[in-house]
Symmetry: C2
Subunit: 112 residues, 2 copies
Amino acid sequence: MSKNHLYKGALGTVLLKLLEENGRMYGYELSKKALELTNGDLDITEGALYPALHKLEADGLLTSESERIGNRVRKYYSLTQSGSGAARSRIAELEEYAGNLQKFLNLKLSNG
Amino acid sequence: MSKNHLYKGALGTVLLKLLEENGRMYGYELSKKALELTNGDLDITEGALYPALHKLEADGLLTSESERIGNRVRKYYSLTQSGSGAARSRIAELEEYAGNLQKFLNLKLSNG
DNA sequence: GATAATACATAAGAAAACTATGTATTCTTG
DNA sequence: CAAGAATACATAGTTTTCTTATGTATTATC
């Protein structure tokens, strides 16, 4: 069972991170990679994946190229220059958030 | 400027954590404490706070008592027994998520 | 006396997810 | 070889969860 609910709001940043690391990926590949790297916690549904990719592209952070593999079409995405910058800042922000959240959740009354 | 967007989906768990640590708090107090403990990152708006508290109460995780302080009414919330259990499991789940997220965001191609 | 802070609440709207559905190709397995 | 699973895209309708805006009222500050 997925823990998608925890990743609420982080999906765009997760996609940017994957593209930053892997350079060029298509939607289905991104969803499988996310599943693998989160040990099955993040099972991105198609209804979340494709609109999210379209939004990142509309925002100028991604470009896409459709490629014909046999009779099947794949749409490869990669970061634009602006997307690389956004990736760095969004990843850093989310990392900081994760650290702050851990500290907060570990607080004991004695500390505070 | 707040970083509320990062806390998307985590608000209920944050409130449970605060009540677990402090025992008995009212809405306004919860929002100020969250602001303080997150160094200003989490500025819970009233439109998020009160519906969230009402939902936790409706779900049986909180009970409330209205108390008259001078001429002003405060609504104090505390965890029910079921709420204590939910707090523990939700906090643990979110902690684990934060750790996994950090690992994921720190991945380098060489690792994966 | 005006403004900010305290204290609750709800309504309308937006964002981001989910479920469901649609189309089509390719692989696997009985 | 037929059926089902996996691959690969996409969108529509719905739900959740937040924001912004509004409302009421008391108390503190300047």
